[in-house]
């Protein structure tokens, strides 16, 4: 929780954890002119240690690593830190993708990836985390937001449901915040994708839906016998305004 909040982090320092040395060199070479400083480590254990050092704005983590695999590294990172993680998953491995997002990866990119895509994803994640850390520093948009049984503290990024703390990943928190701010209104997927993932929607990309489904799982699918987060087919999502439905009948 604490590492990502350090104000000393430079937003252009990235860490790539991949056992392919030549690939790491190329990534460094490609991302250099884009304005990023890239460090590379080639093993899971050393990658974990460096990722937790707090020196990096973002970690690019390959799933296939010698020794300890990428999911385990991610799990251990998440137990101590909220540093944004972009997973490189195996192409054709949908399960790996889902698992990665469930554990708390901020986004994923199937490998082999197109370098432009890598840059776009990195920028999207950084924009989002910058926005949220900016909020924390200024405190202007901070404060509490309560809808029904869910209460979030935007400043400390703590989520409580019926008083009990719920552990959310960075993306899930951002998603919940956007949904809660427009509770009772439908937000289209395109807008959600831009606000939460920092990129526009592409066809056949279901990561937004996956994050929503993770959020439902963590918060509970239903509140007061009504779907907590409704899918509005063909449009987007809607967070049920449970605070009103507590007293009145649910709005359909």
């Amino acid at each position: 929780m604490s590492m990502a909040e350090k104000t000393t982090i430079r937003l252009d320092r990235l860490l790539i954890v991949d056992d392919d040395v030549k690939l790491c060199d190329l990534v460094r070479e490609y991302l250099g002119p884009e304005g990023f400083e890239v460090d590379a480590v080639h093993g899971g254990k050393s990658g974990l240690a460096r990722a937790l050092s707090g020196d990096y704005a973002l970690i690019v983590l390959d799933v296939m690593l010698p020794g300890i695999n990428g999911f385990d590294v991610l799990r251990r990172i998440r137990s101590e830190s909220d540093v944004p993680v972009l997973m490189l998953t195996a192409r054709g491995d949908d399960i790996g993708r889902v698992v990665g997002l469930e554990i708390g990866a901020d986004d994923y990119l199937p490998k082999p990836f197109i370098p432009r895509e890598l840059v776009a994803r990195i920028r999207a994640i950084l924009r989002r985390s910058m926005r949220s850390s900016g909020k924390q520093q200024s405190g202007s948009v901070g404060g509490n937001l309560t809808v029904g049984d869910v209460e979030i503290d935007v400043g400390s990024r703590i989520v409580r449901r019926a008083g009990a703390t719920v552990d959310l990943t960075g993306v899930e928190f951002a998603l919940l915040e956007v949904l809660l701010r427009s509770a009772g209104n439908v937000i289209c997927r395109e807008e959600l994708s831009k606000k939460v993932l920092g990129r526009s929607l592409t066809p056949y990309d279901r990561s937004l839906d996956m994050h929503v489904s993770n959020l439902r799982k963590k918060l509970g699918h239903r509140v007061d016998e009504v779907d907590r987060i409704k899918t509005v087919r063909g449009v987007g999502y809607l967070y049920t305004l449970a605070s009103e439905s507590n007293k009145a009948t649910p709005v359909e």
């Binding site: 190329l26 054709g92 056949y204 839906d209």
Partner: protein, 464 residues
């Protein structure tokens, strides 16, 4: 298998029955048990009683009826019966044998009625009285051989014969079962193996047998192990090759990115082409990995319930977006909510592959129709996703092969439309893993219809 069982059963049954019956007949011919015992204490008792009974009703009966009843009595007791009047004349007018005359004489003299001399037919005689009190003498003898074989005579022999048949049947059943049960197990294992379960082996109950069936079972297991190791080695090779290709390809993409940034405008076109080809390779490797994952024997579907209707709606929406590039659209028609059980990611990629294929092949400006509904095949309910394009269709001779990996109907044109030739193969594998199937046929008015069916499980699993 059933017929083998039946054949063995019937053959053994008949054999056993014949052997047992022949044995019984032989025993009866040995005359181990005196033939005439049990006839009310003395041989021929039945005959006399039958005769006396006939006489008792003599008064009321006509001559014909009497004759009839006497003949009946002779037949059922297997004897000859004479009824004599006071003048020792048979009432039916038959000639009395000399021996019978002797016996009758003895009876009339008041001597014992059973004076059989050894070596002769035993004759018996006794008085009989009709109801009006008129006296007669009944004399009779058991008819000597040749008798009909005892088991051909209905009556007291039915039960023993039934016993023979049942016993023979039971023995035959046990024998047939003993022979066919291990063969059946062997067959089950073979079927499972053929259906793709490379782990299928014959159990120890067969493999531990010391007979020829046991040999066969062990040979099967050896063969199965051999085939399994070959197949898995081949699959692993394909998977490893695909995996290993990922790394150089990832590096190639990066190097290409660096090159296009540094190169002048005159190289742009060539670099774009390289990028396009690299992307094709990328796609190919991705689909190859998906396919090898599906072919792996341990692939099991996860049983979570999936709202197929919502899933298809999602995919159709994305495909509609993509189809706009070709001025086409995708129309979805839903007739009912379908919930199936399985692997959502797999079903998604299966339907997505079919739908994108349809979008790629439909004529510009036309639409692709997607319908989802239920049907029944008599045994269970199926969710049916039907995808119809308005393209050129597929020549009939190719239509069964379009689900084979890398099968192309027309090389040049298909490549223009993108895709690497594995999409439909993946869809077919995914359908099979979900116990479903996939078919293609040409529509009568042009275009291809692909139907994807997956069995639906009982609706009580639907939580919604």
């Amino acid at each position: 298998m059933k017929t083998l069982f039946l054949r063995i059963l019937i053959l053994c049954w008949i054999t056993n029955a014949v052997v047992i019956a022949a044995f019984a007949l032989a025993v009866s011919q040995l005359d181990l048990f005196p033939k005439h015992q049990g006839d009310f204490g003395f041989p021929g008792g039945h005959a006399l009683i039958a005769g006396q009974t006939a006489v008792a009703f003599l008064d009321d009966a006509s001559a014909d009826a009497f004759k009839q009843s006497l003949e009946n009595a002779e037949q059922t007791t297997r004897s000859r019966i004479f009824v004599l009047n006071d003048d020792d004349q048979d009432l039916l007018g038959r000639r009395l044998p000399a021996e019978a005359v002797n016996v009758v004489k003895r009876v009339r003299e008041g001597k014992r009625a059973i004076p059989t001399s050894p070596g002769h037919e035993p004759w018996f005689a006794n008085y009989a009285r009709s109801r009006s009190g008129k006296g007669y003498v009944v004399v009779g003898t058991l008819r000597p051989s040749p008798d009909p074989p005892p088991f051909l005579i209905p009556g007291p022999l039915v039960m023993p014969m039934l016993g023979v048949v049942v016993t023979a049947g039971a023995i035959a059943f046990v024998l047939a079962y003993y022979v066919t049960a291990p063969v059946r197990k062997l067959r089950t294992a073979t079927q499972m193996f053929a259906a793709g379960d490379l782990e299928a082996r014959v159990g120890p109950s067969v493999a531990r047998r010391t007979d020829v069936i046991g040999d066969l079972g062990r040979e099967f297991n050896v063969m199965a192990t051999q085939v399994q190791s070959l197949v898995t080695a081949q699959q692993r090779l394909l998977r490893d090759v695909s995996h290993e290709l990922r790394s150089p390809l990832a590096r190639l993409h990066l190097a290409l990115g660096i090159a296009s940034r540094n190169a002048g405008p005159q190289a742009t076109e060539a670099l774009n082409r390289i990028e396009h080809e690299a992307n094709q390779l990328n796609e190919l490797i991705g689909q190859l990995l998906t396919l090898t994952r599906l072919e792996a024997p341990q692939t099991q579907t996860k049983g979570s319930p999936i709202n197929l209707t919502a899933l298809v709606a999602d995919i159709a929406e994305d495909a509609d977006f993509e189809a706009k590039e070709r001025s086409c659209n995708v129309k979805l028609k839903t007739s009912s909510e379908c919930v199936v059980h399985g692997d959502e990611a797999l079903l998604r990629s299966a339907i997505e592959n079919v739908l994108r294929n349809a979008v790629a092949h439909t004529e510009i400006g036309t639409c692709v129709d997607v319908t989802i509904g239920q049907k029944t095949n008599g045994k269970e309910n199926l969710a049916l996703v039907s995808i119809r394009d308005h393209g050129p269709g597929v020549p009939e001779k190719h239509i069964a092969s379009i689900f084979d990996p890398f099968y192309r109907v027309e090389d040049a044109r298909d490549r223009d439309r993108g895709g690497v030739g594995l999409g439909l193969a993946i869809a077919a594998r995914a359908a099979r893993i979900h116990d479903g199937n996939i078919h293609a046929r040409n529509a009568s008015d042009g275009g291809l219809i692909v139907e994807f069916q997956v069995p639906m499980r009982p609706p009580n699993l639907n939580s919604e």
